[in-house]
């Protein structure tokens, strides 16, 4: 019989309501941004470096895929349906959801102590040895203990910090650096990145990193108990397989 049906509920919430809300809003916005971003990309699957770039200039690299516009030479004899109109509308609307959710989440991170307590590596974790030990546990596939039900290990903490404080700010910055109104008013927004086309290329690279994060994140959730982890992120309630609970909880 699957033990997952027998669970022990712990009194403390695994994730606060605000974390759960912002988590799923960010997820929705991210999916919308990813799908519409791909739609926009296929209208010109060539990438450049610097301020300018077009079919008549040398690309940095090209995706050898069909395009949704016939102005791009792709080598394919057909043109995909053009979805740029609604894709752009939805891309920028979802970007607002992401940014506003991010502001609320950041304020919560700082003022609730969540950042200090749960995201910055804890005192004992700030060493290469701690990283090595954590990686070792993952390699030897040591099961999640009850302690980890209410805390993040050092790899999780570091990854979340990079996603929150490096990747998301970069994806927003590179996005703004493609806006003609923003770059006209504040040229440094794009020139610090090397120009409009550099910003577009970095926007793609950061997207790829965020998708990699999503894959690993969902993968780890699946490995460590998909239903329990999903339940924790939806209802907030931490649960533990009963066999583990008997062993570890008093």
């Amino acid at each position: 019989m699957p033990v997952a049906t027998e669970i022990v509920r712990t009194a403390r919430l695994r994730h606060s309501l605000l974390v759960r809300l912002t988590h799923w809003l960010t997820f929705l916005a991210f999916v919308a941004l990813l799908v519409t971003g791909i739609e926009i990309l296929i209208s010109h699957p060539r990438f450049y470096w610097g301020e300018v770039g077009n079919v008549n200039t040398h690309p940095l690299f090209t995706f050898h895929i069909p395009s949704s516009r016939d102005s791009v030479p792709t080598g394919y004899g057909y043109v995909l349906p053009d979805q740029n109109g609604w894709s752009r509308y939805l891309h920028f609307e979802a970007a607002w959801v992401l940014v506003l959710t991010g502001i609320v989440y950041l304020a919560y991170l700082v003022f609730s102590g969540h950042l200090r307590r749960n995201l910055f590596p804890a005192r004992g974790q700030r060493s290469f040895r701690a990283y090595a030990a954590c990686i070792g546990e993952h390699i030897r596939r040591i099961r999640t203990s009850s302690v980890e039900l209410h805390t993040y290990n050092v790899l999780q903490r570091s990854t979340y910090l990079v996603v929150i404080f490096v990747l998301f700010p970069l994806i927003i910055w590179t996005g703004l650096a493609m806006s003609p109104a923003v770059t006209t008013a504040f040229p440094f927004v794009s020139s610090l990145l090397g120009g409009r086309q550099s910003a577009r290329t970095i926007h793609l690279f950061v997207t790829i990193l965020l998708v990699l994060f999503l894959i690993v994140h969902v993968g780890m959730v699946a490995v460590s108990g998909f239903r329990a982890r999903m339940r924790a992120m939806i209802t907030g309630k931490a649960t533990l397989p009963v066999e583990l609970a008997k062993k570890e909880l008093p």
């Binding site: 926009i40 010109h44 102005s71 509308y89 109104a181 008013a185």
Partner: protein, 251 residues
């Protein structure tokens, strides 16, 4: 009902009322200061309005960004449809008979030749044109600021938008008056030191460098000043109904 839940109810209730009143006030102020785009309704209206309002507040009064001459790059011809016979007839006369009509909410209707525009003012700007597809190029654009033509015509106080039309059937777009009056918005008849080539919109193209390329309509024949874009049907540009493009393209 005990005291705590009553207090909770009172707090929640007054917060809801304050929130609704706040939103209504914000909407009224936003409307007054021109922060609501015409396509504010529908599924994408909220995002569109936030973008437009923020850009209007933060970017409108900033100067135009220009590039050094050394950054002028290889251009690219954005595809355009078939040109009508009237176009070719004018082209045969080197566009000497081409006229830009300015009408609508103006004190004096105008009908200007390219030579008239040239006589009014000559400005050269090195700006980037960026397409929503992702490509871009920098060129020198030579022309007459739209703001000077509008001043010449005398815009009536109730005017809010400028609609502009191509000789190509059904092709048009529109701007709010502040964007139309921005120093970057140029009635362009020259490019990279010469005349504007046909592929780039000869003899007259409206360059709107603070917005994405599709607002820079080629083969311009008419400008109408208006208080409401609804006069032109259900849409606010010809790029909206066919491809659902956002009216404001500063992003």
């Amino acid at each position: 009902m005990n005291a705590v839940t009553r207090r909770k109810l009172l707090i929640t209730g007054s917060a809801a009322i304050a929130g609704a009143a706040g939103l209504a006030t914000a909407a009224r102020i936003a409307e007054k200061y021109g922060l609501i785009p015409p396509d504010h309704g529908g599924l994408y209206g909220a995002g569109e309005t936030l973008t437009y309002a923020c850009h209007r507040v933060l970017t409108l009064n900033r100067p135009m960004r220009e590039f050094p001459r050394s950054m002028i790059s290889t251009p690219f011809v954005s595809p355009y449809g078939k040109l009508p016979s009237a176009y070719h007839a004018s082209q045969a006369h080197n566009f000497a008979d081409w006229r830009l009509k300015v009408d609508g909410l103006v004190d004096h209707q105008l009908s200007l030749s390219i030579a008239d525009l040239r006589a009014l003012a000559v400005r050269s700007q090195i700006t980037e044109i960026a397409c929503e597809e992702g490509w871009s190029y920098i060129a020198e654009w030579i022309g007459t600021p739209l703001s000077l033509v509008l001043r010449e015509a005398g815009v009536k106080p109730e005017a809010r938008y400028v609609a502009y039309f191509s000789i190509q059937d059904g092709l048009w777009d529109s701007l709010d008056l502040p964007e139309a009056n921005h120093s970057g918005t140029l009635l362009t008849w020259g490019m990279n030191g010469g005349d504007l080539p046909v592929d780039y919109g000869a003899p007259l193209r409206l360059r709107v460098p603070r917005q994405i390329g599709y607002k820079s309509v080629k083969f311009l024949t008419r400008i109408t000043v208006t208080d409401s874009l609804k006069r032109f049907g259900e849409t606010f540009s010809s790029s909206n109904p066919q491809d659902r493009y956002a009216w404001y393209a500063g992003i």
